[in-house]
Amino acid sequence: MIKLSDICYTYMSDGPFEKAAVKNVNLTLNSGEFIGLMGHTGSGKSTLIQMIAGIVKPTSGKIAIDGQELYAKNCDMRKMRFKTGLVMQYPEYQLFEETVFKDIAFGPSNMGLSEDEIKRRVFFAANLVGIGDELLEKSPFELSGGQKRRVAIAGVLAMEPEILILDEPTAGLDPAGRDEILCKIKDMHQRLGITVILVSHSMEDLANLTDRIVVMNHGELAMFDKTAEIFKHSEELKRIGLSVPQITEVCSRLSEAGFPIAEGIYTVEMARAEIERILKSEKS
């Protein structure tokens, strides 16, 4: 369980350019949940996840993971960081080793694990993201963009974190690369039962994957609810510069036009089933 109480973060806290990035956020996330995090650029979402990942210390407030308070005196921060795996934006830019294997092994080696355990984890993580064994001895810089991205994610997964945090893992990928990564993440969440926090600008992707969604706006927590509930508030989302999936827009327009469609539809498959049901029942 991740518990944030009254979290604040201020940039350049003593200078004339003081700017609050995160303001008084209270949030409790359960273990094993798939959480979506959305907000426009500068809404504080990147800072928020970096604080959870133990990289950025909040200016004030408390973060506790499974009861252990982060940044407290008795807290071994390095150990906690292995528990929360953070995949930053464009993670392929952090690759540095000679081979894919060595790069994925960087995290586990830092944990001080045995050679055998490191090896097991590298194969396991590479397999999870769909990087075949034949690629492990290649240089990471010879791979394609999508492959590099997956190697970087494997580097985080190899630490076997209980909480996986991904900051826009599909940015810059084409639809096929995007679907591949998202499919692996979904698969991982189901197979390993880990908590996933996914930051994304794509309403469609968040709609397809998440249980609950956190909406940030100007550093504050604007909404936090089940995915279906969040997308019912399309007016509110639009007001803060976000949107709803195109399909949700279609459904709400249909509802306005007098089509008896149910509320809370946010995927194409849901919409197809509902429209088909209505049109076919009208037929009979």
Binding site: H40, P175, P245, V250, A257, G258, F259, A271, L279, K283
Partner: protein, 291 residues
Amino acid sequence: MDTNTKDTVIDVNNVEFLYEETDTAQVLKGITLNVRRGEFLAVLGHNGSGKSTLAKHLNAILVPQTGNVTVEGFDTADENLLYKIRQRVGMVFQNPDNQLVATIVEEDVAFAPENLGVPQAEIKKRVEYALDAVNMTEYKEHAPHMLSGGQKQRIAIAGILAMKPDVLVMDEPTAMLDPVGRREIMETVKKLNREENMTVVMITHFMEEAAEADRVIVMDHGKSIMEGAPKEVFSRVEELKKIGLDVPQTTELCFLLKKSGLDFDANILTIDECVNKVMSVYNSKGGATND
């Protein structure tokens, strides 16, 4: 092929290209297409389809190994014509950070005309015009690194407009931007196309962006495999999905409903069209309204 040369700005004729140093799939395998004056053309394709390699051929950054490319009749293989071609076909790239040269916005916009030896008074005019065209005049004295991604990319576009090009080629200009930045760029490009009559070639893998073009060319494995108005192209849902591309959710919904045996067609693009279509099917079946 459409050979109305008067209206063709760029002519790509059976071009083949293969990178020597790598074995990646980024090659052109005999592609033929043309860019017509004043149009907004989208080139859609997944990563590795050869679309960026194609872009680099449009202003002689790369030269075809076989076949030829002409810009306003100038052959890109002729080195003497290099600057004539580059001045006519301006190029904007993916990463907004890596194409701005100067530390002040207006200096950056002035970079190309300075290189071309344009007289000072004329440079001033062009910078003013270009910044105004992308709606960034108020930022002219800012430092680029303080701007948002979308703003930086608009400065990059202004830097190209200051050359007074005939064609604006953009190679995945929104791939690294957030939705706000993406919208800024799309609006800027559409405005340039409509109001300044700028010919635009937009290379992208975002179908939402291609949907706003006049004409779409779909690339796969270094070839053009589909061509037409967005509506025609996107109605081929299964073929697009097979080569790793998306279709709008509206198109997909109608496609699925059609497959379910309902009276739908996949030639639906916008939300309006989709809503109208569902309502007309509903009403024809004697829906809630009894009139």
